[in-house]
Symmetry: C2
Subunit: 142 residues, 2 copies
Amino acid sequence: MAARLDPAECAECLCLASRRAARAITRSFDRRLRPHGVRATQLTILIALILYGPGSIGALAEGLGIERTTLTRNLALLEAARWIRIRPGEDARSRLVEITKRGRAKAEAALPAWRSAQAATVAAISLAAAEALRALAQRPIP
Amino acid sequence: MAARLDPAECAECLCLASRRAARAITRSFDRRLRPHGVRATQLTILIALILYGPGSIGALAEGLGIERTTLTRNLALLEAARWIRIRPGEDARSRLVEITKRGRAKAEAALPAWRSAQAATVAAISLAAAEALRALAQRPIP
DNA sequence: CGGCGATAGATGTAGATACACATATCGGAT
DNA sequence: ATCCGATATGTGTATCTACATCTATCGCCG
């Protein structure tokens, strides 16, 4: 039989805390990126492709800490916008994702808005919290 | 003209970090909660209703740091499962959300799994990071 | 060469998220 | 009494997320 709910214990829920923080931060980024017609999640993918070069869908998903099947859907939208290109990979199973000129231009145009959102977030949560959040995001959760 | 992308700068993206952390933590919670047929997001709402009592949709959304319209959709699923009840509120505009006996029983049955996920997350990210995350989630992001 | 586990990815289904907009009601000012 | 801004909520649309399952291909072992 489960014990009764303890308010102090349940108020500490890390799933709520992490999702709540992500929602708030994403809203802030999306608001600033809206004039550029790109979502924070999409810009993240474009930046990853610029920084770490073309790669397979699985490798990109791994790098972003996202489900591979989720990334497949996200990439379809970016491909429709011609911000990325998906070509056949080394063998007939894999596919290679790479950013296009249009995608690179879009990411660079959105960079000032991205910086503004980043700065606003750091100011809101403190530099120490920002560093803690980055470190935390690297860790696998069993 | 936007400056060129700086790898060090872009790797610090807080939107990516927060979403990545939330995805990983949510997957961990959902995996453990699956035998109970309840999602982490749903359990969060049930717990909030237990701890803070019945209230309007807007007040609940505010408390959870979630968009009101998002909560409306989430509540529809909980209502269909008969875990919550939505009644007319004080005036004809507002509605009152409250947990049902079934909902309370479901939340209490899932509590051990929730505790297990919570403990696994704390162990993975460290107690200090957990506290930082909780504090961070409280802050509004402009 | 043929089979078989491993690998890479796509699809079906379901839920979470949020903005723009629409609806209904309330309460105070005239 | 009526009008009008404020309040509380629902709906249309689009995107993000992920598990279960499917298809295709690869590489190895006999």
